[in-house]
Symmetry: C2
Subunit: 317 residues, 2 copies
């Protein structure tokens, strides 16, 4: 069996060395997702990282694709990977980075730090009134997987009551006070001070926060989205924020994305927008974890043992 490994993650030298030790007889090629050429992709038996999707259609030799993302998007669609190829993702790598980001934007909205920052630009020393606390609040974690779970753990430690909503049945971990399936979302929204979305893009998650579900939220609740922009109907959210139907929203992902310069969301005071930066390699720990998942899976693949983070392409995660 040929073992051409194409690595599209910007690894450090030591991380490359560790990876190569897991498959001593393999040939390693390092390239960038943005500039990799079609020939390199076609020649690979194993790809570590996210290649351009259109290049995969001709990749007859591909046996295994290890993504550097938690979301799988088009990679899981029928006909993208050759028959029998395994797809694994990087679930577990982004928890620390994204959950701390979520805590940051939550406190920014709860403590009005976004308003104080605006005031600072005008050298304005003014009190902006009451704040909310995580302590004693109720959080609804929609998509309680790796990222949502890490966020829930942190909230629980800070004194919040945590309710998780998942797409599939599962055991309730200790850091969730309650756990439900997605069909209970509408019944749960009115209870939450914090509604956090960390969902992959699937037909079931598109637009789950829309005009009617926004109306179910508390007037002093905040919405956080770190999954995919499509989970939220952006126009409905703009309307709700403008009408004061909720305290605020923090969005690291938007639809459309990037948010066009002229979009009204930019100007809504209680919207906090960041340009899809909560994950990626913004935090060095994330790269370290992705390298670790890839190295562990490479060792397993070579030995013929079980890989972790195998994606069920029929579900899309």
């Amino acid at each position: 069996m040929e073992k051409n490994v194409l690595v599209l993650i910007p690894l450090k030298e030591e991380q490359k060395r560790i990876l190569e030790e897991k498959a001593p007889s393999a040939n390693f090629t390092y390239a960038k997702s943005q500039t990799v050429d079609a020939g390199q992709v076609q020649n690979a038996n194993i790809i570590i990282g996210n290649p351009p999707v259109h290049m995969l259609k001709a990749s007859k030799k591909l046996k295994w694709l290890q993504l550097n993302s938690a979301g799988v998007g088009e990679y899981a669609e029928e006909g993208v990977l050759p028959e029998g190829a395994v797809l694994t993702n990087a679930t577990g790598a982004y928890g620390p980075a994204i959950s701390e980001y979520m805590l940051g934007v939550l406190l920014e909205l709860f403590k009005k730090l976004h308003i104080y920052r605006d005031n600072q630009a005008e050298a304005n020393w003014s009190y902006e009134g009451k704040v909310k606390a995580i302590f004693d609040s109720t959080a609804l974690i929609v998509g309680a997987g790796d990222i949502g779970g890490e966020f829930a753990k942190r909230l629980k430690g800070l004194g919040a009551y945590t309710i998780g909503v998942k797409r599939t049945e599962g055991h309730k971990p200790d850091y969730l006070d309650e756990l439900y399936l997605m069909d209970k979302l509408e019944a749960l929204l009115p209870r939450a001070d914090i509604v956090a979305l960390s969902l992959p893009e699937t037909p079931l998650t598109k637009g789950i926060i829309n005009e009617s579900t926004l109306k179910l939220m508390k007037k002093d609740a905040v919405l956080i989205n770190v999954g995919r922009g499509s989970a939220v109907d952006t126009e409905a959210l703009c309307d709700a924020l403008e009408k004061g139907q909720l305290l605020g929203a923090a969005l690291d992902v938007t639809e459309p994305e990037p948010l066009p310069k002229e979009h009204r969301l930019w100007k809504i005071k209680n919207a906090v927008i960041t340009p899809h930066v909560s994950g990626g390699y913004s935090l060095e720990e994330t790269r370290r974890r992705i390298a670790g998942i890839a190295a562990g899976n490479l060792e397993a693949f070579i030995r013929g043992t079980k890989l972790i983070n195998v994606v069920d392409c029929s579900k899309g995660y």
Copy 2:
């Protein structure tokens, strides 16, 4: 013994009722600190709240002053209270409010949320580079009392290594990995990613963060001050931030305070300024806790048992 109780805290009706039940034979007067008249202050045997300091000089009848603040400032100075009068403060009331504020501004700086907020004002979708994490960072808590302690607990729960510095010898709580006296400050500063000041104003704490101690901080460390503005030499901090000697600073207290409109600190990008709002009654829970401390102490005072939060006026806290 006459029991004229003057209450200067804006209590809710239920909180007034609870207070009055603790001293059924007392006469209660409710007023505001800002508008109380000298006659009311002079006539009081017990004051709950912070009266104008100059009015106390004529208060011969005062037996006990329960402040609504954690800081005691001028109230502890010689000759302010009549001989034998007891001074108590509101230590314990501000922990949840201020420690969550501290977490908020810390994450604002670590995750560059202040920069992304500035970018938002210009509809600018740009990546601002690497971020830092609380996870695996080292925090130096200068003034590890109620507020510093609550902050340390939260940081520890989020995966930070916590070092406390106190003004007096004491038992090391579990949420501090190390505990030292103030004389070790200079040796500890180079280790910290987070330097948090929650100190009262005393001759010993004035200007402890100055040109020379700022030079000891890591280039990617952040400074947080929620105690008194005088703990930091503002001009030296401005210089250090302008030169990029540290990652950023978050100040809820400044010297001078309020910060004058023309002060250069307003315009320094990596300074985050809020107008002394982390405590006060910004969070309802704080008022509830102050009312609880006052009611408990009133009961003890009437019964002649031990009060909590008694201030040692010779130390100033």
